[in-house]
Symmetry: C3
Subunit: 161 residues, 3 copies
């Protein structure tokens, strides 16, 4: 805003793991990166789904139950509305494919190729018992809130999704 010589920055908290919100998050992220903006995405709570490998997680009894309820990687995200036990995901997928909209895994790949930096929230990973090795290799680092605040306060745009 103030300094036109510096590259603009966007810092995003991705809290939701819903298909529709993840779509919005990655579309904004790739759109910004394509406009030469530095983008950092911090995935926390349900948003961690976007970084998970296709594997079960959880160590404790509770963690395992949570791991089963939240099983699947980014391709298994369901829309926040009309999930209907998977039917909504299928329906949205069909509607989006027929309009040639990129899928979530494709959008994430595009984000990575455009240099968007993906971070995992260490605290949520601890609580939900998702260790680093169950997350995709492209995750830059697993960080705490202090790191996010540092990035966000130097950014020109912030979103909580």
């Amino acid at each position: 805003m103030a300094d036109n010589k510096k590259k603009k920055k966007l810092a995003m908290v991705v809290f939701s793991g819903d298909l529709d919100k993840l779509m919005a998050a990655f579309i904004i992220a790739t759109g910004a990166a394509a406009s030469n903006i530095e983008v950092t995405m911090f995935f926390t709570f349900w948003g961690l789904r976007a970084l998970k490998k296709k594997t079960l997680t959880g160590k404790s009894f509770m963690g395992k139950i949570m791991g089963i309820m939240e099983r699947g990687d980014i391709s298994k995200a369901s829309p926040g509305k009309y999930s209907f036990g998977g039917l909504g995901r299928w329906m949205f997928g069909k509607m989006m494919r027929s309009k040639n909209v990129a899928t979530l895994p494709e959008l994430r790949q595009m984000a990575i190729e455009l240099g968007v930096k993906l971070y995992g929230c260490q605290m949520s990973m601890d609580v939900l018992e998702i260790p680093r090795e169950k997350m995709i290799d492209e995750v830059v680092a697993c960080v705490g809130v202090a790191f996010f605040i540092e990035q966000a306060q130097e950014s020109d745009m912030q979103f909580f999704i």
Copy 2:
């Protein structure tokens, strides 16, 4: 922030079509516009309800089903909690009227009169099969993410609602 001579700007993504969130979005938008701030609202996904005319949408089989599930204009938005098949909307409406709070259609009209610019997200419109002519005339344009990013990076405030 940096330049006090320029008018401040607010860029908002309205993703939700819930009564309570749309209320919040339009109250912030009209409040900002009344404080001499330039406001642009980008309606995407469920948020498109706020721009729709009172008409059914959808062309393909899926699109028509979605159009029926999401039927109705802004006045048919239901709260995100306690929707109870329409009961929640009625209850909230009653509680708000008894406190003389403006309704959603009134808030949108106020926003338009205060010069708030309303944009539709072209991609969501394509996916949900809502053509331009099924949206209110006051929509400035139907745009892509690049246009939004352009606006957002020049803004002083951003919200994703």
Copy 3:
């Protein structure tokens, strides 16, 4: 962003009353305050739960029903997913305690001690019939949207949670 001599500011709208989103809001707020950032939180709609005393609210018939549905203070917040009539809250509480994560009441107390300013949205308080005296003493003031916009436009970061 522009002026490094001034303290950075963060303005947050807390719309949600969900356990998981309130956790995120207070973790960001305390993290920012600990990084020497001025933080103001505006609680509106369901977010008012975070400021309520452990008491029933509501005056009119509708207000009382709403008060019963939304009964309980911050410690009774349920996660936005997997609420299961209270089971989700218990499960999350257990998972977080086992990882030594602060509880919501502890996080709020920490925020207050770090100088985070908590505001209630007067209009939502009117609609939901939650009077000032049913809210915790630490609430700085109950304000309208104009006050929030004033704060937000001077801030370096904004979030809608």
